[in-house]
């Protein structure tokens, strides 16, 4: 028996159905492509570098020697210690500058500033985060360089100090934004409870807000470290780019990233030098991956602790 409405529940291909399918497909491709790109990049870098690392690179020499002579004939030397030290010292100094700076700004914006001041500051911080790194490098080259030479009476101004300051200023805005988010996520009822018990503003911040935001704050610092580690152009321009294990902030240094950027153009594709640069890339990739993963885990853990 078929009534006039017996097909009422049947699947029908109409315009809405077609658009639904199209939208689903586009969104799926968009979502999956991010993962595909990351995997593809890693696969590409690994393909170029991994066989070299396992077959030719003397890892013991790489991590202990500062002799980076990739173009030397007949026997090139691939000692990465100076580059690692360069990246570590510049990033370390940058964090010494950026951590107090960004936490201070975040606490001011999150806990003290109100109304227009607060909104203006937030916009300014986000604006700072959008300055291209080559502009920061230019500032290091043309403003900080002569300033350091004059101020400290040293022969060269393109040093760990210069690159550290530039990198610190570059990393601070993003760290500020994330740290401020972490402070904002602390329920206001905590502040109200503590204030109602006679705690001063600073006691509230020190004893209640900062401890309960600690995971988010550490994540902010870690993302800053990741940013510093991966930054290339500004460091290349401001650090002096000299192979050297820096013993003072007034020594020049050379970063892993800057080495890749400066040398890759001069290498023959597939040569040992070319592959050695990809090995540096793998090292960078692994370090930033671990740092970002750690930051992500901490942010999530901070969020779940509160709920």
């Amino acid at each position: 028996m078929s009534s006039p409405q017996s097909d009422r529940l049947d699947d029908r291909i109409d315009a809405a159905w077609i658009w639904d399918r199209i939208a689903r497909a586009v969104i799926f491709v968009g979502g999956i492509s991010a993962i595909i790109f990351v995997v593809a990049i890693f696969a590409f870098v690994a393909k170029e570098g991994l066989t070299f690392i396992f077959q030719k690179l003397d890892l013991g020499f790489f991590f202990t020697s500062m002799e980076w002579r990739p173009a030397q004939e007949p026997e090139p030397e691939f000692g990465g210690l100076a580059l690692i030290a360069g990246t570590a010292s510049v990033t370390g100094l940058a964090m010494l500058i950026a951590v107090p700076f960004s936490l201070g700004v975040a606490i001011y914006i999150g806990e003290f500033a109100t109304g227009k001041v607060r909104e203006t500051l937030k916009i300014l911080v986000e604006l700072l985060a959008a300055i291209p790194s080559v502009v920061w490098g230019f500032i290091g080259l043309t403003i900080l360089n002569p300033l350091i030479i004059d101020l400290f009476n040293v022969p060269v101004g393109l040093t760990v100090l210069n690159a550290g300051i530039i990198l610190g200023l570059m990393a601070a805005p993003i760290m500020t934004t994330i740290a401020e988010d972490a402070l904002k996520a602390v329920p206001d009822s905590y502040r109200e409870a503590a204030e109602a018990m006679g705690a001063t503003r600073w006691q509230v911040i020190r004893q209640v807000v900062l401890p309960s935001a600690s995971k988010g704050l550490v994540a902010a610092i870690l993302l800053g470290v990741g940013r510093g580690f991966g930054e290339t152009m500004a460091v290349l321009m401001a650090s002096g780019h000299a192979i050297n294990i820096p013993t003072s902030p007034f020594d020049s240094a050379r970063a892993l990233t800057a080495t890749i950027a400066a040398e890759l153009g001069d290498t023959a594709r597939g040569s040992d030098h070319y592959k050695a640069l990809f090995s540096l890339g793998i090292l960078l990739f692994l370090v930033t991956f671990v740092i970002n993963l750690l930051a992500d885990v901490l942010v999530r853990k901070g969020a779940s602790d509160r709920s």
Binding site: P187, A196, M197, G198, Q203, P211
Partner: protein, 276 residues
């Protein structure tokens, strides 16, 4: 819940019925108090006297200003930043709205319990000792702390339940235990007044009863002002009632009197459920 079965049904004492406020017995005196949130006036010429050592309920429909009045007494309202007031609030004979008054000692003298239990994200021990440590400037010995901790938790009838887990997070306690803890943490700094903003509204009936019993037990040593929208609670757990409407105090009577023979028609309408 039949009222007669309550262990702490208010016995209306003769002096409570009279409400002749002797200035020396008023824990809080509010005089001609007006309050604005920005341009909006929330309180109009409020005059109240909270009797020392009694439980006084503030009742009235939502938005009548009872919480605003409560939050003015420890000046926690000022956190909002756009609050303006005129008039006096006297605590132990001192006007707390004068510029010379420091908020820290004021808030130790006037403890506050909030609508939702809000223990700090610290251990039970650190919660109870939070205000105490602040008041001692961080110079407390372990032995002192242990003593203060046990005394406060015993006062709120929580010691036996939590004595074996004092280092655990306070936020893991049940809501009833959390609210009792929020009362316990006020006691070590010896407040004279406890302000409670609907302290049972987040609790189930059994927990409500337990917290009400606790409030009743604390009366005498502390003067308690409690905001509630629960008429039955006001009736069974307070000595005096203040009825507010549209930012004004309509009536202040002994609880037994207000619920039996209200003086004002508006009060009668409200407690009989004709509005609100």
């Amino acid at each position: 819940m039949a009222e007669s079965t309550q262990p702490h049904t208010v016995a209306v004492t003769p002096e409570a019925q009279a409400i002749v406020v002797d200035p020396s017995t008023a824990a809080i005196r509010v005089r001609q108090f007006n309050l604005w949130y920005g341009d909006f006036q929330a309180l109009f010429n409020v005059d109240i006297d909270v009797t020392h050592g009694k439980v006084t309920s503030l009742i009235g429909p939502s938005g009548c200003g009872k919480s605003t009045l409560l939050r003015s007494i420890n000046r926690i309202n000022e956190r909002l930043g756009y609050v303006r007031t005129t008039g006096n609030i006297e605590l132990l004979g001192q006007n707390i709205l004068t510029p010379g008054v420091e908020l820290t000692p004021l808030r130790r003298a006037v403890g506050m319990v909030f609508q939702r239990p809000n223990p700090l994200p610290l251990s039970i021990r650190d919660n109870v000792l939070f205000a105490y440590r602040l008041s001692k400037g961080g110079k407390t010995t372990r032995a002192e702390e242990d003593q203060v901790l046990q005394k406060a938790l015993e006062e709120v009838l929580l010691w036996d339940q939590v004595k074996d887990r004092l280092t655990r997070a306070a936020t893991a306690l049940s809501l009833e235990e959390q609210q009792k803890l929020c009362i316990a943490r006020l006691l070590p700094v010896k407040p004279s007044v406890l302000l409670m903003d609907e302290p049972c509204s987040a609790l189930d009936p059994k927990a409500t009863l337990a917290v009400e019993e606790l409030i009743w037990k604390l009366r005498g040593e502390y003067s308690i002002l409690i905001v509630t929208h629960n008429m039955a609670q006001a009736r069974r757990a307070s000595d005096e009632c203040i009825f507010m409407l549209m930012g004004e105090v309509v009536e202040h009577s002994a609880t037994g009197e207000m619920f039996v023979t209200p003086k004002q028609q508006k009060t009668a309408d409200y407690i009989e459920g004709r509005f609100g």
